[in-house]
Subunit: 137 residues, 2 copies
Amino acid sequence: MNAFELDKRLEGDSVPVADLPLSTVRLMNERSWPWLILVPRRPGLVELIDLDAAGRARLMEEVASAAEALRALYRPDKLNVAALGNVVHQLHVHVIARFRTDPAWPRPIWNVKPKMEPYEPDALSKEVGRIAAALGS
Amino acid sequence: MNAFELDKRLEGDSVPVADLPLSTVRLMNERSWPWLILVPRRPGLVELIDLDAAGRARLMEEVASAAEALRALYRPDKLNVAALGNVVHQLHVHVIARFRTDPAWPRPIWNVKPKMEPYEPDALSKEVGRIAAALGS
């Protein structure tokens, strides 16, 4: 039986925030948006429908928790939720706080900027702490 | 109490396929991708977290049914699932069959093409019939 291992690209682009019962929650190191990814810790998942119904229900509740945390902390104009995975195949769900003033609005955030703009290290730690607290972990 | 009314832009861009217990399923009239939208038939929804937990669980199962139908019919390389809503605020979930040969791959499909390419009317009817059958309706 294979163990879960986080995809190397997801690992490099993000930092750990919290572990929920099913998913690891990570913050993308891109300061333009409060942008979480949830990665279910089961090996071999690619599609949402690779999860069984109980796993899908659990993932939906964890997505909702992440969305509630972002809404409480950042008061966004809109939340975006997506499972795409055309580049990184390991199942992961994006939960992103969007603002009318953000650099991609109203478009989706992908492929808008040529490269990621990382947080300053102190700012990154602070955001991780705030989000982890809002997730109740 | 307000009744549910489909957003006019969603209505104009898509055609009806089936009604599931919570959501209306529609096919986007864009032949570049087999592209469904699921619109929960409750008034006033904008975010996934505007649905209660039972509604979210139901929506997840309907998304899974739509994804299974697209996978069975079109054998895509990847499924994309997203609730964005920056332009049309009425809660709707995109379920899209993606192919390595499609005009946006590996990017998300939004903002890639300047305008939608509608199906020929006969092809549209045929696809709607196949998807409705695959959804078991």
